[in-house]
């Protein structure tokens, strides 16, 4: 199972905990993971990536295995550790405000 860690506000919106487990068919990419995430939790549509363009929203970033994957192609394979479920894909909101 793929594990995705959501920021707090999206946990509230989707009614889930911090870690969401997903059954994602190969190849495991940002796009395939987010497609399944949004399919399982429709309330998240449009909140992580633009509804039409599917581009990452500007104040969110994607990390895994201590790497910033935010600007990688959404169709690049995610690290093997993410695909195997040993490491999560982290969706992180920008630290801002006060």
């Amino acid at each position: 199972m793929i594990r995705v860690v959501l920021p707090a506000n999206l946990q509230t919106l989707a009614g889930v905990g911090r870690v969401v487990e997903l059954d994602v068919a190969s190849p495991v990419t940002q796009r395939s993971v987010l497609d399944v995430l949004e399919g399982n939790h429709p309330a998240l549509r449009g909140t992580i990536r633009d509804m039409d363009t599917k581009r990452r929203r500007p104040m969110l970033r994607f990390f895994a295995c201590e790497e910033d994957l935010s600007d990688a192609s959404p169709d690049d394979p995610l690290p093997d550790a993410v695909a195997s479920g040993s490491e999560p894909l982290l969706i992180i909101g920008a630290i801002a405000g006060g």
Binding site: T12, M51, R57
Partner: protein, 371 residues
């Protein structure tokens, strides 16, 4: 016995405040959508248990919520707001053309007769309509493509359509107000719109009497007299008696005529409420005193209502969608502040008490009077 439900949108969630008709003891429920900005929550006049809420975030964008049990449970519905066709441009802060971009829903106006139909006023300024309870949204493009729209420019809060009023005697007629373009009217159910700003005068724009460009903060209507509208403009309190064909100033003896909210007594169409704010650079109440001003003469002559409101060291603001009235007799009046207080008066403004004192900053207040 009647009940009152107050729907409060704040910077960190929504709250539902409820009371019996005495309006003395309140039950507070929330926060719903904790941590999210809730620009507006409004109930359907045709089915008071059907509520709509605009949930927004600079991080996560726009979410629309719907409840069928008066706010106990909610369902995220459609959040796709696509402009019709290729969006044009409006004027940016530096004077350059800037493409229309959807940012958020400021205001929700449910149909007076159909719980499934609701209008949304959005930033960048446009009006959308849903006829399936918010599941899908379609723009009524006649407003955004109105011939003056390439010249619209945002105010400090953005180019937002923040007020929608539906004429209860004629469903084809609606009014929309945009900061900082002005007021627009449709007489064909939203297909076409025209500016109705004659008589507005704004000294901070190049042509003070221009057809558009006026920073209208809020308009209000009494349902029994839909041709009479009251307006809190950036500066000036205004009134029209002919559906917006002409406006005249009614600021009269107000201590300052800058402000955001304006509303009308539910049972007295010539009783109007405003909350003066010091100035456009000092967005807090005047002289450190939180005062509601009431006119019983349809404007020009105003009295300060202070009983129960702080009269020293008070520096809160009251935003444009944060005042509402109930329809009991005597009329209840409600408003929320940037300090998180929601005040209520059960006697048309003579005496005030806080329902709650310490919510997050209040963005909107709506009231439902339930049989």
């Amino acid at each position: 016995m009647s009940k009152i439900r107050v729907l409060v949108g704040t910077k960190k969630g929504a709250f539902v405040l409820s009371s019996d008709a005495s309006r003395k003891r309140w039950k507070v429920e929330g926060p719903h959508f904790a941590g999210w900005e809730i620009y507006h929550v409004k109930g359907s006049p045709a089915n008071p248990d059907r509520l709509y809420a605009s949930q927004t975030s600079g991080w996560f964008g726009q979410v629309m919520q719907r409840s069928d049990d008066a706010g106990k449970t909610w369902e995220a519905v459609g959040n796709q707001f696509a402009y019709e066709g290729t969006p044009g441009t409006h004027v940016w802060y530096d004077g350059s053309p800037h493409p229309y971009e959807f940012k958020r829903v400021w205001h929700l106006e449910p149909s007076l007769t159909d719980p499934e139909t609701v209008f949304a006023g959005v930033e960048d300024a446009a009006i959308f309509k849903s006829t399936d309870g918010g599941t899908t949204w379609a723009e009524l493009p006649g407003l955004r493509t109105q011939e003056t729209s390439p010249g619209w420019a945002p105010g400090a809060g953005g180019l937002c359509l923040h007020t929608i009023l539906i004429d209860p005697s004629n469903a084809d007629r609606m009014f929309g107000a945009i900061s900082s373009a002005g007021v627009f009217r449709t007489d064909d159910a939203g297909q076409s719109w025209r500016p109705i700003n004659r008589g507005l005068r704004s000294n901070h724009i190049p042509d003070p009497d221009a057809l558009v460009g006026h920073c209208v903060h809020r308009i209000a209507m009494h349902p029994s007299r839909p041709n009479v509208l009251f307006m809190q403009k950036h500066w000036d309190v205004m009134r029209t008696d002919d559906g917006g064909e002409s406006w005249r100033e009614i600021s009269g003896d107000l201590p300052t005529d800058f402000g955001f909210v304006i509303d009308v007594h539910a049972n007295e169409p010539d009783t109007v409420y405003v909350i003066p704010i010091t100035s456009d650079s000092l967005h807090y109440v005047h002289e450190g005193k939180l005062r509601v001003y009431r006119s019983r003469t349809g404007g020009d002559e105003w009295e300060a209502l202070t009983n129960g409101l702080p009269q020293k060291d008070c520096y809160v603001n009251v935003l444009r969608d944060a005042m509402a009235v109930d329809s009991l007799d005597p009329c209840g009046v409600y408003f929320g502040t940037s300090g998180g207080q929601v005040y209520a008066s059960a006697d048309a403004g003579d005496r005030w008490e806080p329902i709650v004192r310490d919510l997050p900053p209040v963005l909107s207040v709506e009231v439902q009077t339930l049989a």
